[in-house]
Symmetry: C2
Subunit: 643 residues, 2 copies
Amino acid sequence: MIEIRLIPQKEFKRIRAANIDKYTKLKILANMCRANAIATVKRAGSGHLGSSFSSLDIVTALYFAEMNIAEVGISHPDRDIYFSSKGHDVPGHYAVLYAMGLVSEEKFLNLRRHGGTHGHPDVSIAGIEANSGSLGMGISKAKGMAWAKQAKGAGGRVMVMTGDGELQEGQIWESLQTAAHQKVNNLIVIVDFNKFQSDKALKHIIDLGDLESKFRVFGWHVERCDGHDFAALEDVFARLKGITDKPKVLIADTVKGKGISFMESPTEWPDEKFLYKWHAGAPDDDSFEAGYGELTESINNRLQSVGLDALTTEIIETREKNRIKLKDTAEKVVNAYGEALVELGTQRKDMVVLDADLSADCGLRLFENAFPQRFIESGIAEQDMVSAAGGLALQGLLPVVNSFGVFLASRANEQIYNNATEKTKIIYVCHYAGLIPAGPGKSHQSVRDISLFGALPNVVVIEPGNAVETKEALRWCVEEASQSCMMRLAISPSPRTIPLPDDYHFTYAQGTVIIDGQDAALFAYGPVMLNEAMVAAATLQAHNCSLKVINLPWLNRIDEDWFKKSIADCDTVFVLDNHSRYGGLGDMVLNTAQKIDTARRKRFIKFGLDEYPACGTPPEVLAYHKLDGDSIAASILKTIQGS
Amino acid sequence: MIEIRLIPQKEFKRIRAANIDKYTKLKILANMCRANAIATVKRAGSGHLGSSFSSLDIVTALYFAEMNIAEVGISHPDRDIYFSSKGHDVPGHYAVLYAMGLVSEEKFLNLRRHGGTHGHPDVSIAGIEANSGSLGMGISKAKGMAWAKQAKGAGGRVMVMTGDGELQEGQIWESLQTAAHQKVNNLIVIVDFNKFQSDKALKHIIDLGDLESKFRVFGWHVERCDGHDFAALEDVFARLKGITDKPKVLIADTVKGKGISFMESPTEWPDEKFLYKWHAGAPDDDSFEAGYGELTESINNRLQSVGLDALTTEIIETREKNRIKLKDTAEKVVNAYGEALVELGTQRKDMVVLDADLSADCGLRLFENAFPQRFIESGIAEQDMVSAAGGLALQGLLPVVNSFGVFLASRANEQIYNNATEKTKIIYVCHYAGLIPAGPGKSHQSVRDISLFGALPNVVVIEPGNAVETKEALRWCVEEASQSCMMRLAISPSPRTIPLPDDYHFTYAQGTVIIDGQDAALFAYGPVMLNEAMVAAATLQAHNCSLKVINLPWLNRIDEDWFKKSIADCDTVFVLDNHSRYGGLGDMVLNTAQKIDTARRKRFIKFGLDEYPACGTPPEVLAYHKLDGDSIAASILKTIQGS
């Protein structure tokens, strides 16, 4: 068994009240927050420790020494404002807010659970000043807040933390130039310069060069110090109070994973192959125990050195050690995609794969290693990546552009449009499509991407249902499609391997019946929702209702003859979107039905999202949105029996 | 009468073949291109002369002296590639391509006409290497081309022209950092540094500071020269051939409107109130005659000085002088919007108006002048503008965010999403909504914006039909809406003032019957399509078909009771979208009908765009897409008689 423990608020009160050296106190508090952060991440099963730890000394210094929140409260117009633009460092931030008494114990412990704290910052949580999680927006938003403070004559500084890789986003440089021009001088940016991105060193992704000079030439006052040195931080913030003619930046040199020896990033630039392991994800049981032990030992040693009692902690969960998890055994469509990329790339020398610092998550590493000369790492700069792909395509190459759907379909939307108007062929792969996993929250759940591609007349949108179909879909996009394609791919392990019939053939604009039935038809796509559809069918079977489940991976192209036949026996047709109810397959089905006399008189009902995707575990979130198999079955039964 | 004249290709051949001083020859050729450019812009009635003229000496130098296209042709893999990222300087570029014999006379003369040349570059036109017109994408795209040239071992440089205001776009800085990191050294950027944006000096919009240092600190080799000095340009391009370890930029100091004395921008920074008049739009008749005369006089003087015969030109059009145009007399909804902004802003001290260098076009100048302290000029940096608005809203202010719909809804899509998840209230105004005017082409026609906002559950989308409704709509957004709104506004003079009934009241989620009828119902919105709907109704009346025309400004909220009643008498319902057929009011109507038993059995037919919007005059383009009143009437008649 392993124990997950919490350092309770009263312990923070005790240390804060102690009459000890102020820097020693901050060191102890920061490591207490680290211990609580790793506990919540372990409990959640995911979260970002590397940058929580690199930034935590700074956040500790801000809240416990620098900001006026403890005096004026978190709602006062004159309060100092702090938020993180990168947002994935939020487990550390929550630990500080919990320690300050702003976030309740129950909420704090339920990281990435429905009703708990979100995987990325959300303003519904006390002390969180802005939603973030998609990179590059924070300085702009902080600038707006600081402008408003000036306009209202309110006191307080606005401070925003950015990552270093995040500085690759173009919006950062927009915000730097406008803040300087508009004289928003009550604004402080803090760069958590830990020098590592998702897993590689920043220098090897897209080097930022002379960062201090860059900020200076954009009109900013620049300070630089060790982000783990509390005296230096105090000194910098004191000095910044005297700078009133420019917006200000502190470049804080930090160590990713700081505080747990084996999580700490190298302090020298490593070689290109080096992969940092602790950016995202919960530690395994042994690493958790070792890391937690190291933190508490360090805290207790410091407490002892200043004559204080050792920590008291509370057990919040015990669990069996080394449980086998779904993710270790289940099918992952993204793995099939990665394999297919290499298979196709071996034949097609014109294929070029583009990445925006998500190579491992997007299943690109196989291709990256096999064909480094045809792999373009673009850094966290999706717009540049997409327009560069446009240039490659104009020169006759076949670009395959990858990122998470939220970032690619949305951030680079106008660039995708511009490319599409040139009528070249580009394959866009929107990873992390749909509602699940729901732990990282709405900055990462891509439930608008179909609608964002929908009005591009010459782009085919596909989501495959299992590994076999994924390979077929990519092959179709590469070998058969005459124009651009968008493929959306689930990122999680599939809840089950979706079955396909023996005579399965991936056919343009046609789907596959995976469960036959007569009482109603249900269209769905992708491993997550096809699984829920199959659960619904099984539940309905027990109620003597026979549901036909059709896997339709073509989300904006439907063969009318096939469609007419596939719903011929059913008066009521349901569509299950892993997407907003707006603009997904449901609308495509409605529109197709309007063109067919026998079809348009049937009844059509769409399942999908009508609100922002909730944060939580997959079962929690599917149930909350009534998109789990049982809710779907209940709704279908009610409709059929009522009609 | 005024005459519009063309300098024919044979005259360019004559001068190019003449044995005269090479710089004098280039000066003559450049002014000949200026004369042809102003002739086509005058003929088209619109186009961008200011930056066509500032960049034309450089483009002339490239095509007639520097590039290898004359030798290898425009399809050779080893050719030098040139394109303009800003794209609005394309009348000058076309003039050069015409002079080179690449673009036919017929195509060249038909600027902004259907079947002619597009208002912004399109690859369907010989010699145009990339689509542009939306700013900031060009360096990325050129980088992709240059990367492909390296990968293929092809010769030739890739050269891309940017504006200076364009450098405010964040994507520029993404592309600078990646090009340097990726060592795409066969890439040359030319900045047309004319120092003026839409109408104000760059220094007063968002100052760029020390541009040379900025490029250098981003890892680029920097050259700078007078962009009107052919010897200096030759010198720079020769020197750049020796620079192979970095991507390269030439900052060319130019004069906006160069070549016609009264169009030339000041060479010193003017004061903040100074407005440059010649960025966009055709010159009036007197200015055209004076300007054209000045150019031909200068050309002939130079020809005479080198012993060559004077120019021969051909009359291509004569027209009555000083015709009264629609735009001088018709209603413009954007004017009503501008007035309403000031009226509401007088009461609501929390209203802040944000602009992205389109203040005049978006009707903001009244507010800008009335409340300069609550007007935020953001420059050409839509993402920063939108996130800054998010920060203002979090601080309790009410931001009203303006840009053209294509730029705002698409470029800043993820920032809008992020703001919306915070559930603050922001008003987004998508100007230049819809198909018309169609002269600037698809980079400017906003026909996807409803779909790009569609999956945001808490944003209401409205397009008002006339000036009265525009004021009501804005008032509703400011005073009554509880969450964010998107208002789309036509930018052209309205074809007629759309009538409203005497008892008109702007009511949430309900429309207004503007023509009564029983044989079919047609929903439409906005001045352009309501006008076509009224034309259709009149045409159908002559065929004894009575069409009910309903103005429905609420594009994603429909009151079901009102809807049910409004179509109760009609078995067939048409919806006319000024938008892609995907995701507009048509889909909203289809979905609403599905919820109502009596409605869902009716027949629904959507009119809208199924392809990219064509370029041309409004009648040409409406007819091409079959969205003009007559085509709509014919289609309705066929449907009703066939059913």
